[in-house]
C-alpha cells in the first residue's frame, strides 16, 4: 500500500516527507512501547503510535521503517520533525485513535 493511500484512509495530514508518499509499505505495527517494536517487529514499513518523542523516529530508522503515523491528533514536536527529515522518515498525523487507525488499514489490506 502506498503511503499516499494510508494518508487517504486515515484522513491524515502530512507533517514531513511529502515527496516520499509514493513509497510502498506491506505491513504495519501499532504500538506505544518502542522496546516492543524493537523486539517483535520484522519488515513492517509503517509505525502507528501515540508516543511523541525523538526516540520514535530513531526506532523507526533502526527498523528500516518508512513512515510514522501519530494517532489521536498528536502534534509531533519540532525536534521529532527535524530528526525525521534528516533520516528520510515520513510523518503523518491523524485524529483517529490507535485502534481504529489500525482497523481501517487492516481492513484495506495492510496486514
Amino acid at each position: 500500500m502506498k503511503i499516499s493511500v494510508v494518508k487517504e484512509i486515515l484522513n491524515a495530514e502530512v507533517i514531513c516527507g511529502e515527496e516520499l508518499l509514493d513509497e510502498e509499505v506491506f505491513s504495519a505495527c501499532g504500538c506505544d512501547l518502542m522496546s516492543d517494536v524493537l523486539a517483535f517487529v520484522k519488515n513492517q514499513g509503517l509505525l502507528l503510535t501515540g508516543l511523541n518523542n525523538p526516540q520514535v523516529v530513531r526506532t523507526a530508522f533502526m527498523m528500516d521503517m518508512k513512515a510514522i503515523v501519530f494517532v489521536r491528533g498528536k502534534n509531533p514536536d519540532d525536534e521529532v520533525i527535524q530528526l525525521a527529515k534528516l533520516k528520510d522518515v515520513i510523518i503523518l498525523k491523524t485524529d483517529e485513535r490507535l485502534y481504529s487507525a489500525c482497523g481501517k488499514l487492516y481492513s484495506a489490506g495492510l496486514i
Binding site: 522496546s35 508516543l51 518523542n53 526516540q55 530513531r58
Partner: protein, 143 residues
C-alpha cells in the same frame, strides 16, 4: 574494507535522552555506505541502540568503540555507572529497574538486554557494583 578494520569511537552523554541513539544511527549509516548485508545492519543497529539507551538511562553515559572487519562488527560499550547486581535477572524479559520517566518515553519495559541478546551473535556483559558495566556485542557478517 579490504584488510584494514574500520574503528569508530563515540562518547555518550549522560542523561541526554533526546540524543540517545545517535551513535547507533551513525554506525548504521557507515555500515550502509560499506554495503554490509542489510539484515546484519539492522541486527547490529537494534542491539547497539538498546545498549546505548541503557547507558543513558542507567549509567550516566559512557564510551562506545566499534570495530568493523569483513567478518564481523564488534561493539564495546563501557560505562562507569552503578553496575548490574544480578545479570541473570536483568536478562529476563520484563524485568526492569527503570523509572516511570523512562517508561513514559517508550522504554524501560525490561526488553533491553533480551533484545540485545536476540539480535547479536555473541553478547558478553561484565559488571561490577559501583565500578561500571561493559557490554560487548558481536554480529557476524556472512561471507
Amino acid at each position: 574494507m579490504e584488510n584494514a578494520n574500520l574503528k569508530l569511537h563515540y562518547n555518550v552523554d549522560k542523561k541526554d535522552f533526546i540524543n540517545a541513539g545517535e551513535a547507533s544511527s551513525s554506525v548504521k549509516k557507515v555500515l550502509r555506505k560499506l554495503g554490509v548485508n542489510p539484515e546484519c545492519i539492522r541486527n547490529l543497529a537494534i542491539a547497539m541502540y538498546e545498549a546505548e539507551i541503557n547507558m543513558v538511562i542507567h549509567a550516566n553515559g559512557g564510551t562506545i568503540d566499534v570495530d568493523i572487519s569483513p567478518e564481523c562488527i564488534h561493539v564495546v560499550l563501557s560505562d562507569s555507572g552503578p553496575g548490574i547486581p544480578d545479570i541473570q535477572r536483568a536478562m529476563q524479559e520484563g524485568y526492569s529497574t527503570a523509572g516511570d520517566n523512562v517508561r513514559e518515553l517508550g522504554f524501560g519495559a525490561g526488553m533491553g538486554l533480551p533484545n540485545i541478546k536476540k539480535y547479536s551473535d555473541d553478547l558478553k556483559i561484565t559488571s561490577e557494583i559501583g565500578v561500571g558495566t561493559t557490554v560487548e556485542i558481536k554480529v557476524n557478517i556472512p561471507s
